[in-house]
Protein backbone atom coordinates (compact mmCIF):
# COMPACT_ATOMS: atom_id res chain seq x y z
CA UNK A 1 0.00 0.00 0.00
CA UNK A 2 2.91 2.40 0.60
CA UNK A 3 4.71 1.85 -2.76
CA UNK A 4 1.88 2.94 -5.00
CA UNK A 5 1.59 5.86 -2.85
CA UNK A 6 5.26 6.80 -3.35
CA UNK A 7 5.27 6.65 -7.12
CA UNK A 8 2.77 9.37 -7.74
CA UNK A 9 4.68 11.52 -5.38
CA UNK A 10 7.94 11.18 -7.31
CA UNK A 11 6.55 12.10 -10.70
CA UNK A 12 5.43 15.60 -9.80
CA UNK A 13 8.78 16.21 -8.18
CA UNK A 14 10.74 15.37 -11.36
CA UNK A 15 8.75 17.56 -13.63
CA UNK A 16 9.65 20.90 -12.07
CA UNK A 17 13.29 20.00 -12.19
CA UNK A 18 13.28 19.40 -15.97
CA UNK A 19 11.50 22.63 -16.93
CA UNK A 20 14.32 25.23 -16.21
CA UNK A 21 16.72 23.24 -18.37
CA UNK A 22 14.46 23.55 -21.38
CA UNK A 23 14.12 27.33 -20.90
CA UNK A 24 17.86 27.83 -20.86
CA UNK A 25 18.21 26.00 -24.15
CA UNK A 26 15.51 28.14 -25.70
CA UNK A 27 17.09 31.39 -24.52
CA UNK A 28 20.32 30.58 -26.20
CA UNK A 29 18.70 30.62 -29.64
CA UNK A 30 18.37 34.07 -31.49
CA UNK A 31 14.85 35.40 -31.34
CA UNK A 32 12.74 35.15 -34.45
CA UNK A 33 12.28 38.52 -36.37
CA UNK A 34 8.79 39.84 -36.31
CA UNK A 35 7.51 41.58 -39.44
CA UNK A 36 7.53 45.42 -39.23
CA UNK A 37 4.14 46.87 -38.49
CA UNK A 38 2.56 49.71 -40.42
CA UNK A 39 3.30 53.14 -39.01
CA UNK A 40 0.51 54.43 -36.89
CA UNK A 41 -0.17 58.17 -37.04
CA UNK A 42 -0.76 59.44 -33.64
CA UNK A 43 -2.25 62.82 -34.35
CA UNK A 44 -2.68 65.08 -37.43
CA UNK A 45 -3.45 68.83 -37.61
CA UNK A 46 -4.22 71.41 -40.36
CA UNK A 47 -2.69 74.89 -40.35
CA UNK A 48 -4.44 77.50 -42.54
CA UNK A 49 -2.40 80.48 -43.64
CA UNK A 50 -3.87 83.48 -45.55
CA UNK A 51 -1.42 84.53 -48.22
CA UNK A 52 -2.23 88.10 -49.44
CA UNK A 53 -2.21 88.54 -53.21
CA UNK A 54 0.39 90.77 -54.76
CA UNK A 55 -0.47 93.62 -57.15
CA UNK A 56 1.10 93.54 -60.54
CA UNK A 57 3.43 96.32 -61.57
CA UNK A 58 1.03 97.32 -64.31
CA UNK A 59 -1.80 97.68 -61.81
CA UNK A 60 0.35 99.79 -59.53
CA UNK A 61 1.39 102.04 -62.40
CA UNK A 62 -2.15 102.55 -63.65
CA UNK A 63 -3.72 103.20 -60.26
CA UNK A 64 -0.81 105.38 -59.15
CA UNK A 65 -0.85 107.30 -62.41
CA UNK A 66 -4.56 108.01 -62.19
CA UNK A 67 -4.18 109.08 -58.58
CA UNK A 68 -1.24 111.35 -59.41
CA UNK A 69 -3.18 112.89 -62.29
CA UNK A 70 -6.05 113.53 -59.92
CA UNK A 71 -3.74 115.21 -57.45
CA UNK A 72 -2.23 117.39 -60.15
CA UNK A 73 -5.65 118.40 -61.44
CA UNK A 74 -6.81 119.17 -57.91
CA UNK A 75 -3.68 121.24 -57.28
CA UNK A 76 -4.36 123.22 -60.43
CA UNK A 77 -7.90 123.67 -59.20
CA UNK A 78 -6.60 125.15 -55.96
CA UNK A 79 -4.29 127.45 -57.90
CA UNK A 80 -7.11 128.75 -60.11
CA UNK A 81 -9.43 128.95 -57.15
CA UNK A 82 -6.99 131.18 -55.28
CA UNK A 83 -6.34 133.24 -58.41
CA UNK A 84 -10.05 133.70 -58.87
CA UNK A 85 -10.45 134.68 -55.26
CA UNK A 86 -7.60 137.22 -55.48
CA UNK A 87 -9.10 138.85 -58.56
CA UNK A 88 -12.53 138.80 -57.00
CA UNK A 89 -11.29 140.39 -53.79
CA UNK A 90 -9.38 143.02 -55.76
CA UNK A 91 -12.52 144.25 -57.50
CA UNK A 92 -15.22 143.44 -54.95
CA UNK A 93 -16.36 146.28 -52.71
CA UNK A 94 -19.07 146.99 -50.19
CA UNK A 95 -18.24 150.64 -49.51
CA UNK A 96 -17.33 153.63 -51.64
CA UNK A 97 -13.90 153.15 -53.21
CA UNK A 98 -13.45 156.53 -54.86
CA UNK A 99 -12.35 154.74 -58.01
CA UNK A 100 -13.93 154.66 -61.42
CA UNK A 101 -15.13 151.44 -62.98
CA UNK A 102 -12.68 151.04 -65.84
CA UNK A 103 -11.38 148.38 -68.16
CA UNK A 104 -8.96 147.33 -65.41
CA UNK A 105 -11.84 146.32 -63.18
CA UNK A 106 -13.58 144.57 -66.07
CA UNK A 107 -10.38 142.64 -66.75
CA UNK A 108 -10.28 141.58 -63.09
CA UNK A 109 -13.88 140.39 -63.24
CA UNK A 110 -13.12 138.45 -66.42
CA UNK A 111 -10.07 136.93 -64.77
CA UNK A 112 -12.08 135.93 -61.72
CA UNK A 113 -14.74 134.30 -63.87
CA UNK A 114 -12.21 132.58 -66.10
CA UNK A 115 -10.21 131.20 -63.17
CA UNK A 116 -13.40 130.17 -61.43
CA UNK A 117 -14.48 128.15 -64.46
CA UNK A 118 -11.06 126.56 -64.71
CA UNK A 119 -11.09 125.76 -61.00
CA UNK A 120 -14.47 124.07 -61.29
CA UNK A 121 -13.30 121.98 -64.22
CA UNK A 122 -10.03 121.10 -62.49
CA UNK A 123 -11.76 120.23 -59.22
CA UNK A 124 -14.28 118.04 -61.03
CA UNK A 125 -11.62 116.29 -63.07
CA UNK A 126 -9.25 115.92 -60.15
CA UNK A 127 -11.96 114.65 -57.85
CA UNK A 128 -13.15 112.14 -60.41
CA UNK A 129 -9.63 110.89 -61.00
CA UNK A 130 -8.85 110.56 -57.29
CA UNK A 131 -12.13 108.78 -56.61
CA UNK A 132 -11.56 106.59 -59.63
CA UNK A 133 -8.08 105.73 -58.47
CA UNK A 134 -9.33 104.83 -55.00
CA UNK A 135 -12.13 102.75 -56.48
CA UNK A 136 -9.73 101.02 -58.83
CA UNK A 137 -7.38 100.36 -55.94
CA UNK A 138 -10.19 98.72 -54.01
CA UNK A 139 -11.75 96.75 -56.84
CA UNK A 140 -8.51 95.49 -58.30
CA UNK A 141 -7.08 94.34 -55.03
CA UNK A 142 -5.69 90.81 -55.53
CA UNK A 143 -7.55 88.04 -53.70
CA UNK A 144 -6.04 86.51 -50.64
CA UNK A 145 -5.21 82.81 -51.01
CA UNK A 146 -5.53 80.35 -48.17
CA UNK A 147 -2.79 77.74 -47.88
CA UNK A 148 -3.42 74.62 -45.77
CA UNK A 149 -0.51 72.89 -44.16
CA UNK A 150 -1.17 69.46 -42.74
CA UNK A 151 1.05 68.30 -39.97
CA UNK A 152 1.17 65.04 -38.16
CA UNK A 153 3.24 62.94 -35.89
CA UNK A 154 3.70 59.31 -36.84
CA UNK A 155 5.09 56.76 -34.48
CA UNK A 156 6.18 53.61 -36.13
CA UNK A 157 8.08 50.61 -34.81
CA UNK A 158 11.20 49.71 -36.58
CA UNK A 159 12.16 46.26 -37.71
CA UNK A 160 14.86 45.99 -35.16
CA UNK A 161 12.41 46.34 -32.34
CA UNK A 162 12.79 50.13 -31.88
CA UNK A 163 10.50 52.97 -32.78
CA UNK A 164 10.53 56.03 -35.00
CA UNK A 165 8.73 59.31 -34.60
CA UNK A 166 8.13 61.26 -37.82
CA UNK A 167 6.86 64.87 -38.13
CA UNK A 168 5.07 65.62 -41.37
CA UNK A 169 4.08 68.76 -43.21
CA UNK A 170 2.18 68.76 -46.40
CA UNK A 171 0.65 71.56 -48.36
Amino acid sequence: MEAPAAAPAAAPAAAPAAAPAAMVEKAAEPPALEPARDPVPVRTREIRIDVPGERSLNNKLVVGGVFAAGLIASTLGVYWHLDSRDASNAVGADEFTGKAWTEDQIALVDRADRSKTRAIVAYSLGGALVIGAVAAYIFTEPKTETAVIRTGVVVAPTSDGGGMVTKLWSF
Binding site: H81, S88, E95, T97, A100, W101, T102, E103, Q105, V109
Partner: protein, 197 residues
Protein backbone atom coordinates in the same frame (compact mmCIF):
# COMPACT_ATOMS: atom_id res chain seq x y z
CA UNK B 1 -20.93 122.15 -40.09
CA UNK B 2 -18.41 124.92 -39.63
CA UNK B 3 -16.18 123.29 -42.17
CA UNK B 4 -19.04 123.25 -44.66
CA UNK B 5 -19.70 126.95 -44.08
CA UNK B 6 -16.00 127.72 -44.36
CA UNK B 7 -15.83 125.80 -47.62
CA UNK B 8 -18.86 127.59 -49.01
CA UNK B 9 -17.43 130.94 -47.96
CA UNK B 10 -14.12 130.03 -49.54
CA UNK B 11 -15.83 129.08 -52.79
CA UNK B 12 -18.22 131.99 -52.78
CA UNK B 13 -15.33 134.42 -52.68
CA UNK B 14 -14.65 133.65 -56.33
CA UNK B 15 -17.50 135.79 -57.61
CA UNK B 16 -16.90 139.55 -57.37
CA UNK B 17 -19.47 141.22 -55.20
CA UNK B 18 -19.77 144.90 -56.10
CA UNK B 19 -22.32 146.77 -54.06
CA UNK B 20 -24.16 149.78 -55.51
CA UNK B 21 -22.55 153.12 -54.74
CA UNK B 22 -19.04 151.77 -54.44
CA UNK B 23 -17.59 152.82 -57.80
CA UNK B 24 -17.62 155.98 -59.85
CA UNK B 25 -18.82 155.64 -63.41
CA UNK B 26 -16.06 154.80 -65.85
CA UNK B 27 -15.57 156.11 -69.39
CA UNK B 28 -18.84 156.37 -71.26
CA UNK B 29 -20.87 155.53 -68.15
CA UNK B 30 -19.16 152.22 -67.64
CA UNK B 31 -20.51 150.36 -64.60
CA UNK B 32 -20.49 146.82 -63.22
CA UNK B 33 -23.09 144.39 -64.49
CA UNK B 34 -26.46 145.09 -62.98
CA UNK B 35 -25.64 148.69 -62.10
CA UNK B 36 -26.23 151.91 -64.02
CA UNK B 37 -24.56 155.29 -63.96
CA UNK B 38 -26.31 157.91 -61.88
CA UNK B 39 -25.72 161.01 -64.03
CA UNK B 40 -26.11 163.39 -61.12
CA UNK B 41 -23.36 161.93 -58.97
CA UNK B 42 -21.52 159.93 -61.64
CA UNK B 43 -21.66 156.93 -59.30
CA UNK B 44 -22.75 153.42 -60.28
CA UNK B 45 -26.08 152.73 -58.64
CA UNK B 46 -29.04 150.42 -58.89
CA UNK B 47 -30.77 151.27 -62.18
CA UNK B 48 -33.91 152.38 -60.37
CA UNK B 49 -31.85 154.94 -58.46
CA UNK B 50 -29.97 156.30 -61.49
CA UNK B 51 -31.14 159.79 -62.26
CA UNK B 52 -30.80 161.84 -65.45
CA UNK B 53 -28.04 164.39 -65.88
CA UNK B 54 -28.22 167.65 -63.99
CA UNK B 55 -25.63 170.38 -63.55
CA UNK B 56 -26.24 170.74 -59.83
CA UNK B 57 -25.63 173.65 -57.51
CA UNK B 58 -21.83 173.60 -57.75
CA UNK B 59 -21.65 173.59 -61.53
CA UNK B 60 -23.99 176.24 -62.78
CA UNK B 61 -24.16 176.76 -66.51
CA UNK B 62 -23.94 180.41 -67.45
CA UNK B 63 -26.12 181.08 -70.46
CA UNK B 64 -24.84 183.10 -73.36
CA UNK B 65 -21.18 182.11 -73.19
CA UNK B 66 -21.33 179.71 -76.09
CA UNK B 67 -19.35 181.89 -78.49
CA UNK B 68 -16.05 183.79 -78.20
CA UNK B 69 -17.84 187.06 -78.79
CA UNK B 70 -19.99 186.54 -75.71
CA UNK B 71 -17.36 185.01 -73.44
CA UNK B 72 -17.37 185.45 -69.69
CA UNK B 73 -14.57 187.50 -68.21
CA UNK B 74 -11.86 185.96 -66.09
CA UNK B 75 -10.34 189.36 -65.42
CA UNK B 76 -6.89 190.80 -65.97
CA UNK B 77 -3.84 188.63 -65.45
CA UNK B 78 -0.45 189.86 -64.35
CA UNK B 79 2.67 188.49 -65.96
CA UNK B 80 2.70 185.90 -63.22
CA UNK B 81 -0.88 185.52 -62.12
CA UNK B 82 -2.88 183.69 -59.58
CA UNK B 83 -4.91 180.74 -60.78
CA UNK B 84 -8.39 181.70 -61.92
CA UNK B 85 -10.86 178.91 -61.34
CA UNK B 86 -14.38 178.40 -62.60
CA UNK B 87 -16.82 175.59 -62.21
CA UNK B 88 -19.47 175.22 -64.82
CA UNK B 89 -21.55 172.79 -66.77
CA UNK B 90 -21.98 171.64 -70.32
CA UNK B 91 -25.55 170.43 -70.70
CA UNK B 92 -26.67 168.42 -73.69
CA UNK B 93 -26.57 170.55 -76.82
CA UNK B 94 -24.11 173.10 -75.40
CA UNK B 95 -21.53 173.89 -78.08
CA UNK B 96 -18.98 175.24 -75.59
CA UNK B 97 -18.23 177.80 -72.91
CA UNK B 98 -15.83 180.69 -73.60
CA UNK B 99 -13.90 182.87 -71.18
CA UNK B 100 -12.02 186.06 -71.82
CA UNK B 101 -8.88 187.23 -70.02
CA UNK B 102 -6.37 189.99 -70.51
CA UNK B 103 -2.61 189.68 -70.15
CA UNK B 104 -1.10 192.82 -68.72
CA UNK B 105 0.94 195.12 -70.91
CA UNK B 106 4.68 194.71 -70.76
CA UNK B 107 4.61 190.95 -70.16
CA UNK B 108 7.20 189.17 -72.22
CA UNK B 109 8.08 185.53 -72.40
CA UNK B 110 4.92 184.52 -70.63
CA UNK B 111 2.56 181.64 -71.34
CA UNK B 112 -0.89 180.61 -70.34
CA UNK B 113 -1.46 177.25 -68.75
CA UNK B 114 -4.96 175.95 -68.32
CA UNK B 115 -6.64 172.71 -67.43
CA UNK B 116 -10.19 171.49 -67.46
CA UNK B 117 -11.16 168.66 -65.14
CA UNK B 118 -14.31 166.81 -66.08
CA UNK B 119 -16.04 163.55 -65.29
CA UNK B 120 -14.65 160.66 -67.27
CA UNK B 121 -18.12 159.18 -67.50
CA UNK B 122 -19.45 161.70 -69.99
CA UNK B 123 -18.26 163.49 -73.12
CA UNK B 124 -14.64 164.58 -73.20
CA UNK B 125 -13.84 168.27 -73.02
CA UNK B 126 -10.83 170.09 -74.45
CA UNK B 127 -9.54 173.65 -74.44
CA UNK B 128 -9.32 176.17 -77.22
CA UNK B 129 -7.34 179.41 -77.30
CA UNK B 130 -7.32 182.46 -79.53
CA UNK B 131 -6.57 186.11 -79.43
CA UNK B 132 -9.72 188.11 -79.21
CA UNK B 133 -11.32 188.41 -82.64
CA UNK B 134 -9.59 185.33 -84.01
CA UNK B 135 -10.99 181.81 -84.42
CA UNK B 136 -10.12 179.64 -81.40
CA UNK B 137 -8.04 176.54 -82.03
CA UNK B 138 -8.02 173.40 -79.98
CA UNK B 139 -4.79 172.95 -78.07
CA UNK B 140 -4.54 169.59 -76.29
CA UNK B 141 -1.24 169.65 -74.47
CA UNK B 142 -0.06 166.71 -72.39
CA UNK B 143 -0.68 167.54 -68.77
CA UNK B 144 2.21 167.97 -66.38
CA UNK B 145 0.70 165.52 -63.95
CA UNK B 146 -0.16 162.20 -65.45
CA UNK B 147 -3.61 161.21 -64.26
CA UNK B 148 -5.01 157.76 -64.80
CA UNK B 149 -8.69 158.55 -64.51
CA UNK B 150 -9.03 156.12 -61.61
CA UNK B 151 -10.61 158.87 -59.54
CA UNK B 152 -13.39 159.28 -62.08
CA UNK B 153 -12.02 162.49 -63.56
CA UNK B 154 -10.24 163.25 -66.79
CA UNK B 155 -8.08 166.28 -67.45
CA UNK B 156 -7.31 168.17 -70.61
CA UNK B 157 -4.54 170.76 -70.56
CA UNK B 158 -3.41 173.73 -72.56
CA UNK B 159 0.02 175.35 -72.51
CA UNK B 160 0.77 178.12 -74.99
CA UNK B 161 2.91 181.25 -75.17
CA UNK B 162 1.02 184.52 -74.96
CA UNK B 163 1.79 188.21 -75.08
CA UNK B 164 0.08 191.29 -73.80
CA UNK B 165 -3.52 191.54 -74.96
CA UNK B 166 -6.93 189.94 -74.63
CA UNK B 167 -7.42 186.26 -75.21
CA UNK B 168 -10.36 183.91 -75.34
CA UNK B 169 -10.13 180.42 -73.92
CA UNK B 170 -12.92 177.95 -74.64
CA UNK B 171 -14.09 174.72 -73.12
CA UNK B 172 -15.59 172.57 -75.85
CA UNK B 173 -16.48 168.92 -76.33
CA UNK B 174 -14.18 167.04 -78.65
CA UNK B 175 -16.86 164.62 -79.79
CA UNK B 176 -15.53 161.56 -78.02
CA UNK B 177 -16.86 159.69 -75.02
CA UNK B 178 -20.45 160.48 -75.90
CA UNK B 179 -21.93 156.99 -75.23
CA UNK B 180 -23.17 156.99 -78.83
CA UNK B 181 -24.67 160.46 -78.31
CA UNK B 182 -26.36 159.32 -75.10
CA UNK B 183 -24.09 161.27 -72.74
CA UNK B 184 -23.22 164.49 -74.55
CA UNK B 185 -22.95 166.54 -71.38
CA UNK B 186 -20.54 167.08 -68.55
CA UNK B 187 -19.56 169.13 -65.56
CA UNK B 188 -16.14 170.68 -65.33
CA UNK B 189 -13.70 172.81 -63.42
CA UNK B 190 -11.47 175.23 -65.29
CA UNK B 191 -8.16 176.60 -64.05
CA UNK B 192 -6.22 179.29 -65.93
CA UNK B 193 -2.89 180.93 -65.03
CA UNK B 194 -0.31 183.07 -66.73
CA UNK B 195 3.30 182.27 -65.88
CA UNK B 196 6.80 182.97 -67.00
CA UNK B 197 8.27 180.65 -69.55
Amino acid sequence: MRAVFATLLFAAACTPDVAPGTYLCGPEELCPDGLACDRVTAICEVPSNAEPFACGDKHVDVPGDDAPATAQSLGDFACVSLVAERRSCMPAGDAGDFYRFRVADGCTNVRVTASVVHAVAFERLVLQLAKEGETPETIDTPCATNRTGDDGNAVSCLDAPVGPGTYVIGVVPDGTGTCDNECRFNRYGLAVQVTNQ
